[in-house]
């Protein structure tokens, strides 16, 4: 098991290094931040001074070497716009995004797996058909539109829930969280539903497909032939088997929800990383974009590692394969 983890960590390091090169090259290509940063009235001397101060007069490989050198020390540069360390800026926004993403995933799993199971066990029932039709809607309606409709219905017309912002927050482990206060929780509901819609449809479809396949297996019939209750057959024999693909996809999706909740955050004015990213790209705030992207890569790598570990808990065949290697 330790060997397995070590090997995965090495792979992850390579991925992060490769990503650093890609991100840096990419960001280099998208434009010169000087044009945005310095006022048009500045003269050539001021301009040259600013370029030198930011290190933008150096050739690309030198800039990259400097970037790597400070990155290893945990310094991803200083935001051109805000004048504070970029990494700190991104991390400061991270809890808001994490909270939103986890709330969305929780919704997707807690609703999606039972609904998918039901639709898979009774594919021809009315409920099963309704669930599947609903999941098609969840897939195809654009997130921003659903978000605006939610605001329209629940915030504007009914006035039940607030339309934007994080609301009141409370501190836990030195970080501000919305879900700890009543007001914050109310603010969290709509964006979480909005972000969960697509994932929910995905989980329903995965769970249903898995259930339909597993339910026909001999071992399910054998379990019934042992005289087990339907709850045990479905809740243990079927559920544990369908969880394998669901966990794999959910792991990947969790990463993407955290990294790309941009649309939902924009619609609901949720002060998370996604909103910061959009602003930074518009202002060509290079260090922030780089810090954001590297943090995202790191996140994906960690999540994938965790998924692999959960996966091996679910499937004994993988566990032993990994242990021997």
């Amino acid at each position: 098991m330790i060997v397995f983890i070590l090997r995965r960590l090495t792979q992850s390091a390579v991925v992060i290094a490769a990503m650093a090169v890609l991100v840096f090259t990419g960001i280099f290509a998208i434009g010169n931040p000087i044009d945005v940063l310095i006022s048009p009235e500045a003269d050539e001397v001021e301009r040259a001074a600013a370029i030198a101060r930011l290190g933008l007069d150096q050739p690309m490989h030198v800039q990259f070497a400097r970037f790597v050198e400070s990155a290893v020390g945990g310094d991803l540069g200083t935001s051109f716009v805000h004048g504070v360390p970029a990494l700190g800026l991104v991390l400061q926004r991270f809890p808001a995004t994490l909270e939103l993403a986890l709330a969305a995933m929780l919704l997707a799993v807690l609703l999606g797996i039972p609904l998918g199971l039901w639709a898979g066990l009774k594919p021809d029932s009315v409920a099963g058909r309704v669930i599947m039709t609903g999941s098609i809607l969840g897939f195809s309606l654009p997130t921003f539109w659903v978000g605006m409709m939610l605001i329209m219905a629940f915030a504007v017309q009914l006035g039940w829930l607030p339309a934007g912002g994080r609301g009141q927050t409370a501190s836990l482990f030195g970080v501000q969280w919305s879900f700890l206060t009543r007001d914050g929780l109310a603010h969290l509901i709509l964006p979480a539903i909005n972000l969960a819609t697509f994932k929910l449809s995905l989980v329903i479809r995965l769970a249903r497909a898995g259930t339909r396949e597993v339910a026909l297996q001999d071992y399910v019939k054998f379990a019934r032939a042992k005289g087990l209750s339907p709850a045990r057959v479905v809740g243990v024999h079927i559920l544990k088997n369908i969880m394998i693909p669901v966990v794999t996809v959910l792991g990947l999706e969790l990463g993407s929800v955290i990294a790309f909740s941009v649309v939902t955050e924009s619609v609901f004015a949720w002060p998370g990383m996604g909103k910061l990213l959009i602003e930074s790209i518009l202002q060509l705030d290079r260090p922030v974009v780089v810090a954001y992207l590297l943090l995202t890569v790191l996140l994906f790598v960690v999540i994938n590692l965790v998924v692999d570990l959960i996966y091996s808990m679910l499937d004994p065949r993988i566990r032993l394969g990994g242990g021997r290697a």
Binding site: L216, F222, A225, K240, P316
Partner: protein, 327 residues
């Protein structure tokens, strides 16, 4: 005459498909006494497996039991509720399936799968359930059962998995075991071992056995009586020795002739001409007539199967002593 343990009367199991109703089991009747071994023989698609699953109400939709009765110890299982069936499944009637690679859940340990089977019917502690599971593994010839309990199915060979399945079936010392081709997927040597062990275990515990198979050789070594199925019906039934030595139905004879044998070395193996008919489009009357050399106009009407002893559904049966001589 004492009541049989299991009496299947005119059982009909139909599958509603887009192309029409498939009568997978079409009026099957047989009796099984306590401790008796009955071989149910037929080709793929003859309805023998569905017959076994129908007894315990385990046919998956779109299949359903359309008629008939399954009297187990006098109680009709066709009309029994799901709850009543669940109390019987695994406790009084156990089942073993064809493919041991598929009958154990790959993600649950053997211990989990055995203990849950014990707890499904007996209110005992986990430790007691575990002890019983271990003993059951030992009984079917699995070495060091204590350690093997913690293992997962993929750590066992096919033969060992089938032993585990048999151990699960024996956990509650059932009155009847429905075995659906349990040795088909195994090596011949393992097959012989398992046959012998199942036979011994059933004799010791007085368990009756319905052995579903396509392999007449297996049945002849194991069963007391045999019923041969073709296209959802029993075409010939009787004590094993009578049927093997003097098959009367042309289909049974065809099956026996197509078994390779040492005594007929160098002679081309005989096969039954034609193919199993589509169950959607069965000929009127005897379903075997398109493949039968003896068929004539009389075969348009299905002959009845007489009640007792060695019986056959055929207007033109072979002579009792003619096997191997002619035809």
């Amino acid at each position: 005459m004492t009541q049989p343990l299991l009496r299947v009367e005119n059982l009909q199991t139909h599958f509603a498909t887009r192309a029409g109703t498939v009568k997978a089991v079409d009026g099957v009747s047989f009796d099984l006494r306590r401790g008796e071994i009955l071989g149910l023989v037929g080709e793929s698609g003859s309805g023998k497996s569905v017959t076994g699953q129908s007894i315990l109400g385990l046919v998956d939709p779109p299949g359903r039991i359309a008629g008939g009765r399954v009297l187990f110890d006098g109680e009709d299982l066709v009309t029994a509720g799901e709850k009543r069936l669940r109390a019987i499944r695994g406790r009084r009637i156990a089942m073993i399936f064809q493919d041991p690679m598929m009958t154990l859940n790959p993600v649950l340990s053997v211990e989990t799968q055995m203990v849950e089977a014990v707890l499904a019917h007996d209110k005992v502690g986990r430790a007691e359930a575990r002890r019983r599971s271990r003993d059951a593994l030992g009984r079917v010839g699995i070495a060091s059962p204590e350690e093997r309990l913690a293992a997962y199915p993929h750590q066992f060979s096919g033969g060992m998995r089938q032993r585990v399945a048999i151990a699960i079936a024996l956990l509650h010392s059932p009155d009847l075991i429905l075995a659906d081709e349990p040795t088909t997927a195994l090596d011949v040597t393992i097959q012989a071992q398992i046959l012998f062990e199942v036979q011994t275990l059933c004799r010791d515990t007085g368990t009756a056995l319905l052995w579903v198979t396509h392999d007449l050789a297996v049945v002849s070594a194991l069963a007391d009586r045999v019923a041969v199925m073709y296209a959802g019906r029993i075409v010939e039934t009787g004590p094993i020795a009578d049927v093997i030595q003097a098959p009367r139905h042309p289909y049974t004879r065809g099956l026996l002739d197509s078994v390779p044998s040492r005594n007929r070395r160098g002679v081309p193996l005989r096969s039954i001409p034609g193919m199993t008919p589509s169950v959607l489009d069965l000929p009127k009357g005897c379903a075997f007539q398109p493949r039968c050399g003896r068929a004539d106009a009389a075969c348009a009407v299905m002959p009845e199967l007489p009640e007792n002893g060695h019986a056959w559904r055929c207007w033109h049966p072979h002579d009792a002593d003619a096997r191997g001589a002619a035809a």
